[in-house]
């Protein structure tokens, strides 16, 4: 299988968010809260695990996620670790540093955040019909692995379609581009 590394690929999925690095930490500042809504929920207070069911919606200042089931391990307040799994009909909208909304879908998304020996690792893994789409193009792969710390995308059996911007002036029309407008397709999947 062939993997590609797309460093800072188009600022996908809020890649421009302040990525966690192993630079000295800055003092905490307030930020809008994260909200998780769902129809039902189950909370294991011993295992510190929360499971949200049905119409799950996560709203973060720069990201919205919907899915059918979301499992979150709740850390101690001082713990430097997060593990969240979103399952079934996962849809993510994220705003990048340029204010563009990016879009990802998959059957399953796993978020991991961990600080070990002063080094931060923050990753998102999309599996099952994984697709990421931005204004510049669409990436599919199985899985799509996003290293948020290094702002790097890795896709196995990946397929990319770059969107071609056809300006109204060039086409002498003022019609909006069709959703399925032609693009440049590049398949970099496994070699034969």
């Amino acid at each position: 299988m062939k993997k590609i590394y797309l460093i800072a690929w188009l600022g996908f999925l809020g890649g421009g968010l302040p990525a966690q690095t192993n630079v000295p930490a800055t003092p905490p500042t307030s930020r809008p809260p994260t909200r998780i809504n769902s129809d039902h929920g189950e909370f294991d207070l011993s295992a510190r695990r929360a499971i949200y069911y049905d119409h799950v919606r996560v709203e973060d200042p720069r990201m919205t996620l919907t899915c059918d089931r979301l499992t979150a391990d709740l850390p101690q307040s001082e713990a430097q670790e997060r593990h969240i799994v979103a399952e079934t009909n996962v849809v993510i909208y994220a705003v990048d540093e340029k204010g563009q909304t990016n879009h990802a879908t998959s059957d399953r998304a796993i978020y991991d955040y961990r600080v070990e020996a002063g080094v931060t690792n923050e990753t998102v893994t999309l599996t099952g019909h994984a697709m990421m789409e931005s204004a510049q193009g669409t990436l599919t792969g199985e899985p799509i692995f996003w290293d948020r710390t290094r702002n790097r995308l890795t896709a196995t059996d990946q397929k990319m379609v770059f969107r071609q911007n056809i300006s109204p002036a060039a086409t002498h029309t003022n019609a909006a581009p069709a959703p399925g407008q032609p693009g440049t397709e590049k398949n970099s999947g496994s070699p034969p």
Binding site: P18, R31, H40
Partner: protein, 154 residues
């Protein structure tokens, strides 16, 4: 790890001391009285047998048939082994099954973390004391306030 103590005992003790539950049988029929400002504690198993694991309290407890208690102004607190409050659950009322160690209500519930940074609300709940499992039936709303240097989501 099995829970070392049955938390309904302190409640029953409170009620008995107040002159309720005449006969003290497991299945009391009808309303037998009420008690105010009660609490029920559960402790960790060794090696922390003196540390409180959870405390269920209420402004008022009224026994009804089937070993049930109707609790007003429920407050449930859980602690870690250092004695720090982990979560505080409050509800206007609930029915507590003293035999099964289960509390339930169709009403509103609010759970707040001990550090006050996050809370969960919902309508209708079931609390299983043995497994420390809280099920919220409807309209689950969670708000997580996090310092900016720690991320919370995907």
């Amino acid at each position: 790890m099995k829970r070392p103590r049955n938390s309904l005992l302190p409640i029953a003790g409170t009620l008995l001391a107040a002159g309720f539950l005449a006969g003290a049988g497991p299945a009391q029929n009808g309303v037998t009285g009420r008690a105010g400002n009660f609490s029920s504690a559960e402790y960790f198993a060794p090696p922390h047998p003196l540390q409180m694991k959870s405390r269920l309290s209420g402004a008022e407890a009224r026994p009804v048939s089937g070993g049930l208690l109707v609790i007003q102004e429920l407050k449930l607190e859980t602690f870690n082994t250092n004695g720090l409050v982990e979560v505080i659950v409050t509800a206007p009322d609930c029915i507590y099954d003293t035999q099964a160690g289960v509390a339930r209500s169709a009403g509103h519930l609010r759970l707040e973390t001990g550090d006050g940074t996050s809370h969960i609300e919902g309508d209708g709940f079931l609390w299983r004391q043995d497994s420390s499992l809280l099920t919220i039936s409807n309209n689950v709303r969670t708000v997580i306030n996090t310092p900016s240097e720690i991320k919370t989501g995907l």
